[in-house]
C-alpha cells in the first residue's frame, strides 16, 4: 500500500460503505477508537514495503479477490488484518472450506468435486438426487442450483461448460440437507459466538440477499460448539457460519463466510447483541495484545 504518513491506528478497508460499515465506524467512535477509512479501490502495494500504515486493519472489502489481495498487501507491510488473507482465501473457496471443516472433524454434507463438467454427472449421481450445485466462488446464493433429476443435472452441466472462466468449470456438488428453505447463520467474533438466527425463505435458497426472513435462533450447546469450531477450522477472526439441520435434527456446517454482512442478523437480534460493537471490542482487544 502507498503508506504515506502514519495516521489512525486502525484501518477500515472497504470500497462500499454499507449500513454495516457505518455501524462499525459508529461503534469505534463510541469506544473512542481512532480509525481511518480507506477506499480499497485506491489501494496499491509495493513489493518489499515494510512500513505499516496501521498496526491493525478491518478488511470489509465486498469483492472476494480484492479483499484477499488487500489483506496480502497489508500483511506483507506488517499490518494485522481481520480477517487474514489466508482465512479470506479459504472461506472464498467452497471446496477448500469443506475440506478444512471435515479435517477439523466437523459434520458437513456429503460433497463432491469434479474437475470438468463431463465428470460432473458421475460426481452428482454418486451423491444422489436431490443435489445442490454451487460455484466454487460466490455468495448471496448466486448460481446455486438445486437439481432433482438427471435431465436437469445434464442441462446445468452444459451451462457450466459454456461459462468462460476455467474456475467455473470445476463442479462442486453437495447433498441437499433438510428442506433447503431455511438455515441457521451464526456469527463468531474473536472465537466467541455472538448469536445465531434462522433464515427462512419462500424459495429453497435462504440467503438474506435473496429476501430471506430472519429471526433469532436459540444458541444451543451443539450450535455454539459447531460455529466456534468452524470459525477456528478456517482461521477466521470474524465468521458467518451457515448450518443446516438434517432430517434427524442434527446440525451440519455448510460454509463459513469471512466477509460477514450482518444487517439481517442485527435486525433479527434487535438489542440482544450489537455486532458492530462486538467487532469494535475485537479491534480494541487486538490493538492492546
Amino acid at each position: 500500500m502507498n503508506t504515506g504518513a502514519a495516521v489512525g491506528p486502525v484501518g477500515i478497508v472497504a470500497s462500499r460503505v454499507r449500513l454495516d460499515e457505518k455501524r462499525i465506524m459508529a461503534a469505534l467512535d463510541r469506544r473512542g477508537i481512532d480509525y481511518e477509512y480507506v477506499d480499497s479501490r485506491t489501494c496499491r502495494h509495493e513489493l518489499g514495503e515494510d512500513k505499516a500504515r496501521w498496526p491493525l486493519a478491518l478488511n470489509r472489502e465486498i469483492g472476494q479477490v480484492r479483499a484477499a489481495y488487500a489483506a496480502h498487501g497489508l500483511e506483507a507491510a506488517g499490518v494485522r488484518v481481520i480477517n487474514s488473507a489466508a482465512a479470506i482465501e479459504l472461506c472464498g473457496d467452497k471446496w477448500r472450506t469443506s475440506m478444512a471443516l471435515r479435517a477439523a472433524g466437523l459434520p458437513v454434507p456429503r460433497t463432491a468435486l469434479a474437475l470438468t463438467p463431463d465428470a460432473g454427472l458421475e460426481a452428482i449421481e454418486a451423491i444422489g438426487y436431490p443435489v445442490v450445485i454451487k460455484p466454487l466462488v460466490g455468495s448471496w446464493g448466486r448460481l446455486v442450483t438445486a437439481v432433482r433429476h438427471r435431465y436437469a443435472a445434464v442441462a446445468v452441466l452444459e451451462h457450466i461448460a459454456a461459462l468462460p472462466s476455467p474456475q467455473s468449470h470445476i463442479v462442486y456438488a453437495q447433498e441437499m440437507v433438510g428442506t433447503g428453505d431455511q438455515d441457521i447463520r451464526a456469527i463468531v467474533i474473536g472465537g466467541e459466538v455472538v448469536g445465531a438466527i434462522h433464515r427462512r425463505s419462500d424459495e429453497w435458497r435462504s440467503n438474506v440477499a435473496l429476501g430471506a426472513r430472519t429471526e433469532p435462533c436459540e444458541l444451543t450447546t451443539e450450535l455454539r460448539h459447531l460455529a466456534r469450531s468452524a470459525a477456528l477450522a478456517v482461521g477466521a477472526d470474524v465468521a458467518g457460519v451457515d448450518l443446516l439441520a438434517d432430517d434427524d435434527g442434527r446440525l451440519v456446517v455448510l460454509e463459513v463466510n469471512a466477509g460477514v454482512e450482518f444487517s439481517g442478523f442485527q435486525q433479527a437480534m434487535g438489542d440482544r447483541v450489537d455486532v458492530a460493537d462486538e467487532l469494535a471490542e475485537l479491534v480494541s482487544t487486538r490493538m492492546s495484545s
Partner: protein, 62 residues
C-alpha cells in the same frame, strides 16, 4: 459543512430526479434513487455528489 450545501439536493445521474441523501452520509456510501431505483454512490459530501454505483461483480458477497 455549510447547511446551504445540504439544501441543494443532488440529482440522480440516471434519471435526473432529486435524490434525498441523509446528513450523515459519507463518501462511498450507497444510496438509492427513489424515482428510478438506481443504486448510486456518494462521491463527495460537500456538496453531495452522486454517480452510478458499480455493478455487482461475480465475486461480491460475504
Amino acid at each position: 459543512m455549510n447547511p446551504e450545501e445540504r439544501d441543494v439536493m443532488p440529482q440522480c445521474p440516471e434519471c435526473s430526479a432529486d435524490v434525498k441523501v441523509d446528513d450523515g452520509s459519507q463518501v462511498n456510501e450507497i444510496v438509492q434513487c427513489a424515482e428510478c431505483g438506481s443504486e448510486l454512490e456518494v462521491v463527495s459530501t460537500a456538496p453531495v455528489g452522486l454517480k452510478a454505483a458499480p455493478d455487482v461483480e461475480e465475486d461480491w458477497g460475504e
